[in-house]
């Protein structure tokens, strides 16, 4: 694999993304924008679930933190959009630590449930508090501007979120191959051994949560100004599940896979719009079929191309967190 061959397809893809608005109509542009949102969200969740192996069923909470922080600061206090970003990022990091801290001692399944609970609590808070506009949410969020140019059209937001998506993908990719990323994967594969090797598992897990939260909240902030109205309905359990779906569908820990997964999760139901009532039924069947025939995801991660054959990587992936069970099942079925 030389650098050129690796880079060419990426460049091609970016080119397609850049010219897409000129090929698509409003509707598909909106779908593409949503898909980009999902790419950012799914990459954020990928850090938590894919890299660190912490199952999170309440990721939409971070999305909500970002959206509401921006929404409130802009409508109530009249801040500029760009100034709200650091605040929402800082707040999300704090929330990430708050949610992460109690879960550190938990087994993987319980962890999932606690995150689910936190996700619901954040949504219920948004419904019940008056600062978040309660059930109707916040509306009339102003448009952001760069200098004197106001971002208002669909096209503007498409490019804004495209830039953020590219940044998120780059950041997550670099994190994945960094020392921190390797530590996460070590923890995921074998927590005790990781600790024995001198990895501070508490710090590392909290870091994973916080980074995931920051990426999610960034998407939320942009979501708020793009929609100009946000409501608790956007941050439901279903939203968390759909983001998780994107990650698992594409392939846990795999950057291109997660991008693909996000695009599919958004476009499939849209492509099925013509069949109305049947679309989520078909979507459900597709999910089951997909997991039956390709459980490792459409584009599984390959951690070290030069070293591990893909079969081994998949085996390692399947052992995550529940080696005992799987080993048992394997023996049983042997």
């Amino acid at each position: 694999m030389n650098g050129y061959r690796k880079k060419l397809p990426v460049v091609l893809l970016l080119l397609v993304a850049a010219i897409l608005p000129f090929l698509a109509n409003n509707y598909w542009l909106d779908v593409a924008t949503l898909a980009l949102f999902y790419i950012v969200l799914a990459q954020g969740l990928n850090v938590v679930v894919g890299f660190a192996g912490l199952l999170d069923l309440g990721y939409a909470a971070f999305f909500a933190v970002g959206a509401y922080t921006t929404g409130i600061l802009m409508t109530v206090y009249g801040w500029s959009f760009w100034l709200t970003l650091p605040v929402s990022i800082a707040l999300a990091a704090v929330v990430g630590v708050i949610i992460g801290a109690p879960t550190l001692r938990l087994r993987s399944d319980y962890l999932a449930i606690v995150t689910l609970g936190f996700g619901e609590i954040i949504r219920l808070l948004a419904i019940n508090l008056s600062i978040t506009g309660s059930a109707s949410g916040i509306y009339g969020i102003p448009r952001p501007s760069i200098g004197s140019y106001v971002l208002a059209g669909q096209l503007d937001f498409y490019y804004l979120i495209l830039v953020i998506a590219i940044l998120a993908v780059l950041a997550v990719k670099r994190l994945g191959t960094s020392r921190i990323g390797r530590a996460w994967m070590y923890i995921r594969e074998d927590e005790d051994a990781a600790e024995a090797m001198g990895i501070n598992r508490i710090n590392m897990k909290l870091l994973a949560y916080s980074i995931g939260a920051v990426i999610g909240s960034l998407a939320g902030s942009v979501f708020a100004v793009k929609m100009s109205a946000i409501a608790p309905l956007s941050f439901s359990f279903t939203q968390s599940i759909m983001i998780l779906l994107a990650v698992v569908l594409g392939g846990l820990g795999s950057i291109p896979g997660v991008v693909l997964g996000a695009v599919l999760v958004i476009t499939l139901p849209e492509l099925l719009r013509s069949v109305e009532d049947w679309r989520y039924l078909i979507f459900g069947i597709a999910l089951v079929a997909m997991m039956l025939f390709r459980p490792q995801g459409l584009w599984p991660a390959r951690y070290d191309a030069g070293q591990a054959a893909s079969g081994e990587t998949e085996a390692a992936l399947s052992g995550r967190g529940d080696d005992d069970v799987n080993v048992d099942a394997e023996k049983c079925n042997a």
């Binding site: 091609l12 698509a24 409003n26 598909w28 059930a135 009339g140 719009r273 009532d277």
Partner: protein, 379 residues
């Protein structure tokens, strides 16, 4: 190598998607003899029930208009997009309608989803007639493309508060179901009740996806309210009415127009629903021709009773047809202008004229009472 191939595949995929998008522009667009009207409703998810009721009524109205010769020599054709009562889905669905070049839009059920979708239509300068969503926040946006034909929340709250005051109900319990509409109504009702000298002894919420409200009912029973006002939708409303009766909670029981449906009687049981009060814009039984609407609706749709917003959805289509005729054009600005100039348009249960905010200029909320399994105007 494998990776390389996959990326190319992905790139091709997205290209074909874009092409499909372009192709889509043509698809669904009306031919020269049709006027394409967008319909934006929740036809999947939790609120699919009401969404389908509204869609049925809209289809019925369109058929009627077309059977009697259509509009401007053309037939109306609807294009339904599912907003799922979700802001994000609603925006996408609205954009879909925009790209299909609809002339106007009828729809909007959940206020939470209608707030962002109305913005999409505003940007595209497409008039939107909203038959159901009635949060006060909708007209507050100041969009000249947005027309609400359901009465506004503050008016309804006032109607409820006046009725309670007139019936010496001083201690009032308010219950909403956490939807934007119901919470809005409960908030306004709270203000109205307090202004007319009453006290709100309980302000509660239920989760409409649940069925057991016994804890709340027992709690209210302990508080002995003079009146209880539930502002949410009928599925939970019917159950609440039933459970209130079973536990013999004292006082009047009122529900908002989200619970104005024969289903509320069916769910609660005719005995339990007897004496139930509803704040709503009266339809069906009171207006000539409305009886025919109910009968025809039931005939067309398998004996299904019209939902709470069926009549309003029906009216929305007729109003649009009328405006198209008056505008004598399918130009958006002309339609907007014609809608704006609507004067005393006679529809089922309402006379429509718009005020400066493009909402109804007169509130026609009334209090109905279930008597003998039927809705009768309460005195």
């Amino acid at each position: 190598m494998k990776k390389w191939g996959s990326v190319v595949v992905a790139a091709l995929l997205s290209l074909s998607l874009a092409v499909a998008g372009c192709a889509n522009q043509g698809q669904g667009a009306a031919d020269a003899n049709e006027i394409l009207v967008g319909v934006l409703l929740p036809v999947t998810g939790n609120n699919a029930t009401d969404g389908k009721d509204m869609q049925n009524a809209i289809e019925m109205a369109v058929k009627k208009v077309n059977d009697s010769g259509g509009v401007l020599g053309k037939k109306l054709k609807i294009e339904v997009a599912d907003d799922g009562c979700d802001p994000q889905m609603a925006t996408t669905a609205a954009n879909k309608l925009v790209s299909q070049n609809v002339v106007a839009v009828v729809g909007g059920y959940c206020s939470g989803a209608t707030l962002p979708s109305s913005g999409v239509f505003k940007n595209a300068n497409i008039p939107m007639i909203v038959p159901a969503a009635n949060s006060a926040k909708l007209p507050a946006q100041g969009y000249d493309t947005l027309f609400l034909i359901n009465g506004l929340t503050p008016d309804q709250a006032q109607t409820a508060a006046d009725y309670m005051a007139a019936n010496q109900a001083k201690k009032v319990a308010l219950i909403h179901d956490n939807s934007a509409y119901a919470k809005d109504l409960a908030d306004f009702a709270k203000a109205a009740v307090e202004k007319s000298g009453g006290t709100v002894i309980a302000y509660e919420a239920i989760n409409p996806e649940e069925k057991d409200f016994s804890a709340l009912v027992t709690k209210l029973k302990g508080l002995q309210p003079d009146a209880t006002y539930f502002t949410g939708y009928y599925a939970a409303g019917g159950l609440l009415v039933k459970q209130f009766k079973q536990k013999a909670v004292p006082g009047l029981f009122l529900v908002g127009d989200g619970s104005f449906s024969e289903d509320v009687i069916k769910i609660a049981g005719a005995d339990n629903a007897e004496g139930l009060l509803i704040t709503a814009t009266p339809t069906a039984e009171f207006i000539e021709g409305a009886e025919a609407f109910t009968t025809e609706y039931k005939q067309t749709y398998n004996n299904l009773a019209p939902g709470p917003f069926s009549a309003l959805s029906y009216n929305a289509v007729n109003l649009l047809a009328d405006a198209l005729k008056r505008a004598n054009s399918t130009e958006r600005d002309a339609i907007k202008k014609a809608l704006k100039e609507t004067k005393d348009f006679q529809a089922l249960g309402q006379t429509i004229s718009f005020n400066a905010q493009n909402t109804l200029d007169t509130s026609n909320f009334a209090v109905l009472k279930v008597t003998g399994g039927k809705f009768i105007l309460a005195k």
